[in-house]
Amino acid sequence: MTEKIAALLESWGVNKALEQVEFLLDPANIPFAIWETLYAPLLAAVFAYLIGLPLGILLVTGEENGIRPMPKNLMRVLNTLINLLRSIPFLILMVMVFPLSRLILGTSIGTTATIIPLTVAAAPYVARLVEASLREIDRGVVEAAQSMGCSTWQIVTKVMLPECKPSLISGATNAAITILGYGAMAGSIGGGGLGAIALMRGHGRGQTVVLYVAVILLVILVQIIQTVGTRLCVKTDKRITHK
């Protein structure tokens, strides 16, 4: 089987076909790479939301006309910090965060170690996504909630977040895909996954078939995430009438 496919590829002019096919068909390689591709970004996404969601809420509620205005200087510092983190290219941020990874995880190499730079890069992005979602809410709805005697906490948990749920889901889909993309990039500093395979084997060693397979698998993963996200978003949105 392996030889047959390799021979076929050779006949199409592919170099080192046997080596590539053997690698791709080995059950230890691709499934594990998919797992590695998903687990670090997914964990990073969870951590990024733990930090980014409250930050995003604060960006909306704490502004001058928000429901709980915060000191102007605090908001300014927060905004600047988020912009700063977002403007650093991920590759550079990753290297800059090495000491932090070493401090928290004891290592700065490997798939697990990429969780730290991924979180640092994604949290400010998530904060902006959440901010944008919450800004969609009609000021009048918040006002109505205030007129009913809602506290700030109740407005956030019972009005803002539930009313923005579809938009938040769509934002989370975006975040997941972006983090997945960063994760593929993290392959270059010793993280594993499809990105690393595409980079090291595919690009580095000229194994074009491996490169294409890895990229196609990444595309499929993104497609799945996007489809699930969109479906979930549409399904939760009660503003859309399902007939």
Binding site: V141, P162, E163, K238
Partner: protein
């Protein structure tokens, strides 16, 4: 009787420095339990700011907001939230929670008050019945018409068992027929539950249809305040006249003496002007006329030209004032 809501010397300015706008200037008024009180004014008169000061969605720069004689402006936030539950509000844009169905929208204030879910649901069903939408419990706001949304909003406003209902242009986004139905519903609620209603509107017809008393707001100040009939029959302020008979507020020939005749509903069937011309032998022109139906009685205002001579003016005014239910004055 003690007022339920009393606003004392409210002042509110927005912005600072050169761009400062005063929305309210020393506004004082009292609303008594059980009445339907209208606040009318042209857009930009400060109506919305005023009504938002009642439940302190907007904090006045100066002045006091008394609810049962207690100043709300001095309350701690938590205490204010408790008081707000006694003062419900409905809005022009309904402001329903779009991700909740009607039943859950109505349950919302009860959720805040910590009423058990089962009890809240039952009460919400009763309220849906009250507002005439018993079959819409599971419907989401997007599936409702404007009038239906406002009914749900009213049910939601009633859920906290309020003493006062604030209506901020509640019918302005609705067609005349729906407006009529919503106003009737508000009237029923006022009668049957004894809820005091404060209505903010720019539509004279809304005031005519359900209000007992009205305050006319002009450029952030109360221009006049009184029983609706009284204000309609004889608006004392320029803003009042503009609102009661808009067509007559137009600047006419500058120095032409004019008289305004007000009919209070008893006399409008008599051919007063024709009688005047025939009896006195003096010619007058009708410059404008506007009559409307208030509380089942016809009210009218008419603007006629007067001769230049003071004596003739007096003769005409005296003649007109002799009719029952007619007041005439030079303007």
């Amino acid at each position: 009787m003690e007022p339920i809501i009393e606003l004392k010397n409210l002042t509110k300015t927005f912005g600072a420095g050169g761009g400062q706008v005063s929305a309210l200037r020393d506004v004082s008024l009292a609303v008594y339990p059980g009445e339907i009180f209208g606040i009318i004014g042209l857009s930009g008169a400060g109506k919305s700011t005023l009504v938002r000061c009642v439940n302190l969605l907007e904090h006045p720069n100066q002045g006091a907001v008394l609810f049962h004689g207690r100043d709300l402006t001095g309350l701690k936030e938590k205490e204010l939230r408790m008081q707000r539950r006694k003062i419900s509000m409905i809005f022009q844009s309904f402001n329903l929670l779009e991700q909740r169905n009607c039943l859950d929208n109505i349950c919302f204030p009860m959720e805040l008050a910590g009423i058990p879910r089962k009890e809240a649901k039952q009460r919400a069903m009763e309220l849906l019945e009250t507002v005439g939408l018993p079959d819409k419990a599971a419907a989401y706001p997007v599936q409702l018409s404007g009038g239906q949304k406002q009914r749900v909003a009213i049910a939601r406003a009633l859920a906290s068992d309020p003493e006062v209902l604030l209506c901020d242009e509640a019918t302005s986004a609705l067609d005349p027929k729906t407006t009529d139905a919503i106003l009737k519903l508000l009237q029923t609620i006022n009668r049957e539950r004894g809820i005091t209603i404060i209505i903010i509107t720019h539509q004279m017809s809304v005031i005519e249809q359900i209000c007992n008393r009205v305050a006319i707001l002009d450029a952030g100040q109360v221009a006049e305040i009184g029983a609706v009939e009284e204000v309609f029959r004889n608006p004392k302020s320029p803003a009042g006249r503009r609102l009661v008979s808009p067509s007559m507020a137009l600047p006419l020939a500058e120095d032409m003496p004019l008289a305004r005749i007000a009919f209070n509903g008893n006399a409008s069937a008599d051919p007063i002007i024709a009688s005047l011309v025939m009896d006195l032998g003096m010619k007058v022109s009708i410059m404008g006329a506007d009559t409307r139906n208030v509380d089942g009685k016809a009210f009218g205002t008419m603007l006629i030209s007067l001769p230049e001579e003071a004596e003739k003016k007096k003769t005409i005014l005296d003649y007109l004032n002799a009719f029952a239910g007619v007041t005439a004055e030079e303007v």
